[in-house]
Subunit: 481 residues, 2 copies
């Protein structure tokens, strides 16, 4: 049988299946969202908007442009980029035509975008949802559909300057979001690889040993050591040497010390990484962010494509955030690094575009902000309505609509009840519930006098305002809203 | 053959296909986005952001809340909602677990959301991408992935008040976007059904005749008549009677006249629709939007779920927009209607939540705005950077970084080149290219004097500003940016 004969045969059978009623008969109707996904209600959206505004402002302050890419890519675009995690990619059904997959992150689509459009330098941000068929534990805030919030700098520049800006951005965003104290761990893939080499790890075990080291934030050294030796076949001696290095933390001083280290200094790679680390810290000092940044040799990060500096920000006082469970990195809220080879994988001629970037772990930030909002006495407003156009009397619908349109046309955010004769109490109640600060009340007398009774919801004060001055008065009173 | 036997057979054949190399052998590595999709570059994103801001401001002015739903739904959620167009739904591959499909619009997920969360009234907007495996003709601005921009009012209210607000919103948005003159056609499914009944269309042909009438905006009456008679088997007499009605256009007067029409008045449904149409126009008069609204009996709209008022906005002077080709509704930029039954399809007890809404055809708006931007002399800025920190001399990288961080910390949008010793000319060129209005130039002398040379890019004027006053001066000069 040839492929096209098979296609024909399949089509015939599926046609027959449809005639037989297909899969329909079997299942009942379920009212839910897909596993691992959720709706955002207006309250969650209000919080989300606030968080996005803070982050986008920061990206714009740093001169970033914005791009967007499709939610799905050709399957082959994602192939070979995520190592073991490729099994978590959502594929689309083959409905004839191209084989497609939902994007797994924003970095690979970014690299594809650069190669396809021959962009050799850009500073861009991209905020969008990505998809992973992970086993979700939703109480821990992990989903199969979640936002990523990426900032990347692509281009050939002098070493460590864009890298330092990425860390400055993480520092700014985490400070402005007021999530509590944080720390940014920094390391370099070249330092890790050099360290593995001088400790006697065979070349072909670098990546797998690196994955094991990556678990140090949630496993004890003893367990990590045991995984290296028993599962991955590393010698005990090599493991112990690694153990000495990965316990080291410091700043520029540590980089200097390791450059003098008898063993470490034997690795060219490590020396290159350490020299750059010193340079990075000198820029971070100028940016005044060294208070939160730690050079930490245990930081490894999972993804294969990093080639230089890597970093990860964690919250050190998690406050109302649930304790970490097995397999969850405690309080990690941002991460990234340098990936100089990825764009070249897409370029037909292999031309490289060096890149460095950071991804904000926005879902975690959302859930912290949600918990803070829950704990706070202040109510989250889900609309921005400034005034409710109301009436205490019957048969004034037309007058209410007329006034509401006047306000809309003047740029005032206004609501009116969709009832012919709503009760005043229910109109006021709606204002209380949704935090509308003002009510413009119309009655026969007010219409005769050419005024509107303007009521302040929280104080219940009422004053008559002439119709001609109403817009101005509402603007004045809500200028801080 | 049974369904399960077919499934087995199909699985075997597909397995064989994979062994034969499947579709893989045919293609090489391709650097492209999926068919019918596109990336948005920074310029397109800048335009998109502007359009969204206008639309979102309008939605907020009307007191709308914001929600979001996942990009995919259970397949069964979408089943039976789109009639013939169901074939355009993207399904996800069965990778074990639930059968999922990408959303086809935002209305069905909204109805699912309401039923699932037992929400009985809400005014919400939702802006997100939807997916249709349509045959895209990208020159005409049709894509397989595109934005929808929906505003809906759910709840049991007095007739036509929310419906009128939806039309007011369309009027506001199209006016503010300055797309040129427009018209909003209005009709009612009950009037259409009543008309079909009194013209002698058999009950079971209502929907299919309705689809044919829907083509009147792109086909002549002769062709529509011929489709009704020859393809759909309608009597010539019935078709001609329909022809007389669907040529009618007017306002409240037309609704009144049809209420007196000997034939039309025999249909209770039509009378209910016509009475509501009169009511609608009276509210539209209060909202001062009747100048653009036309009661047009030829408007039918494709979707099955509408139950009352329907509407569609078209641009009447398309300007630089490409001429319509076959199958494309000329200049349609917004549409919607009342759908009182959809939520009930999801509620286990069939409880109804009446809804009315509007969807802005944002992709069309984007392409018009893009063409306008192309035609305009004014450059579209893709960043908001206020100042570039530059230097004419060597070895001042550290000073540049220090000043840049000072500006960032003061909330100024600032950029600095990632080079140790960039040329002044290339720094100024970057400002010209990306529209940065100011340059803060540092040199040995300026550092000694505690000043910065502030250069206005367009006039090339330079003045010395003391370091202490720099932030204030930049803010003053860019306050209108």
């Amino acid at each position: 049988m040839t492929v096209s004969q098979i296609d024909e045969e399949v089509a015939k059978l599926l046609e027959l299946k449809v005639q037989l009623g297909g899969d329909e008969g079997r299942h009942q109707f379920t009212l839910k969202t897909a596993k691992g996904t959720r709706d955002y209600n207006p309250k969650q959206m209000a919080i989300r908007e606030k968080v996005f505004n803070t982050i986008i402002s920061c990206f714009k302050r740093h001169g970033a442009e914005n791009i967007d890419t499709p939610v799905f890519e050709l399957k082959e675009t994602l192939t070979g980029k995520y190592g073991e995690d490729s099994k978590l990619i959502y594929d689309l059904k083959d409905q004839g035509g191209e084989l497609l997959s939902l994007r797994y992150d924003l970095t690979v689509p970014f690299a594809r975008y650069l190669a396809m459009n021959k962009v050799t330098n850009i500073k861009r941000y991209h905020i969008a949802k990505v998809y992973r068929r992970d086993n979700p534990a939703m109480t821990r805030g992990r989903y199969r559909e979640f936002y990523q919030c990426d900032f990347d700098i692509a281009g050939q520049y002098d070493p460590m300057i864009p890298d330092a800006e990425c860390l400055k951005i993480v520092h700014e965003i985490l400070s402005e979001l007021e999530l509590g104290d944080f720390r940014i761990k920094v390391n370099d893939r070249r330092i890790l690889d050099g360290m593995f080499a001088v400790c006697g790890v065979p070349d072909d075990k670098f990546r797998t040993i690196c994955s094991t080291v990556d678990k140090l934030d949630k496993m004890s050294w003893e367990d990590v050591r045991s995984e290296m030796v028993k599962e991955k076949g590393l010698s005990e001696e090599a493991a112990d040497q690694i153990g000495q290095y990965v316990s080291l933390q410091g700043g520029m001083d540590l980089a200097e010390r390791l450059l003098q280290d008898a063993k470490m200094s034997q690795s060219k790679q490590a020396c290159a990484g350490l020299t750059d680390m010193k340079q990075l810290f000198s820029y971070l000092q100028l940016f005044q962010v060294t208070d939160k940044v730690v050079f930490d040799l245990s930081l490894a990060r999972g993804l294969d494509y990093y080639t230089g500096v890597i970093y990860e920000a964690i919250l050190t006082q998690t406050g109302p955030v649930p304790k970490a469970e097995e397999g969850v990195s405690v309080g990690s809220v941002a991460g990234g690094g340098r990936y100089d080879g990825l764009v070249g994988m897409f370029d037909p001629k292999g031309r490289k575009v060096p890149c460095v970037g950071v991804s904000i772990g926005i879902e975690r930030v959302f859930s912290i902000m949600e918990q803070k909002a829950e704990a706070s006495a202040e109510k989250v407003r889900t609309t921005e309505t400034q005034v409710m156009v109301a009436s205490a009397q019957k048969n004034l619908l037309e007058e209410r609509l007329r006034l509401t349109a006047e306000l809309w046309n003047a740029g005032i955010k206004a609501e009116v009840m969709y009832k012919k004769n709503p009760k005043l109490l229910s109109q006021l109640q709606h204002c209380e519930d949704s935090g509308i600060p003002l009510v413009a009340i119309l009655g026969e007398q007010e219409l005769k006098d050419g005024v509107v009774k303007l009521r302040t919801v929280h104080s219940r004060e009422e004053i008559d305002v002439s119709r001609a001055k109403l817009v101005e008065e509402i603007k004045r009173r809500t200028s801080d809203v």
